[in-house]
């Protein structure tokens, strides 16, 4: 498909474990975003990439969260030492540039037990 693809769609992990969430943006989109959506809430901004660089990571909750986009396409959100409070849907979005509409993926539902 031509949309934003996120894998896995669901991830269950134990408290303290490390997880990686993957995002494949729409081909040609230079801007990539990660958002987190908790139950009953709207998405909250985590990080924004323009090309390969993280232009704004001010939304990352703490230093357990890290994201990369080494070739300016696929991005990986990495969470170390997971906590139960990290349980949420992690959404990825991409756009042609920072002024264009965002296209969201279907998210990865992370559950930390």
């Amino acid at each position: 498909g031509a949309g934003v693809s996120q894998t896995p769609s669901n991830k269950v992990t134990e408290k303290g474990k490390y997880v990686e969430l993957r995002c494949d943006p729409i081909s040609g989109h230079t801007a990539l975003y990660w958002y987190r959506q908790s139950l009953g809430q709207g998405p909250e901004f985590l990080i924004y990439f323009q090309g390969t660089g993280a232009a704004d990571d001010s939304g990352l909750p703490n230093d357990r969260f890290f994201a990369v986009r080494p070739e300016g396409s696929v991005s990986t959100l990495k969470i170390q030492r997971t906590e139960r409070g990290d349980s949420a849907v992690y959404l990825c979005a991409s756009s042609w540039d920072s002024y264009s509409p965002l296209h969201f993926g279907n998210g990865t539902r992370l559950t930390v037990t």
């Binding site: 934003v4 959404l91 002024y99 998210g107």
Partner: protein, 111 residues
Amino acid sequence: TQLLEQSPQFLSIQEGENLTVYCNSSSVFSSLQWYRQEPGEGPVLLVTVVTGGEVKKLKRLTFQFGDARKDSSLHITAAQPGDTGLYLCAVHGANDYKLSFGAGTTVTVRA
């Protein structure tokens, strides 16, 4: 304190009825967006309103931006079960790329 307050939080209506959901703030915005999110999917952009007092129509959906550009409403005429979903409003901050979302209104249309 949420930048955008959406009301009501939940709305359940019968097919064929009309409904209105609201998005309010004390801040002024240059533009405001409405999204619909279905279970298990990401939000999908419905419309962007940019001018105070602007009204945009998308089939049975009517979006209005307040004159002072602080609030917006979404009205659905003759709701259908396919209109069921979470309706989110969102605005860009000082940095154009960062969207701030309201908590959303969950709409359920019963057949």
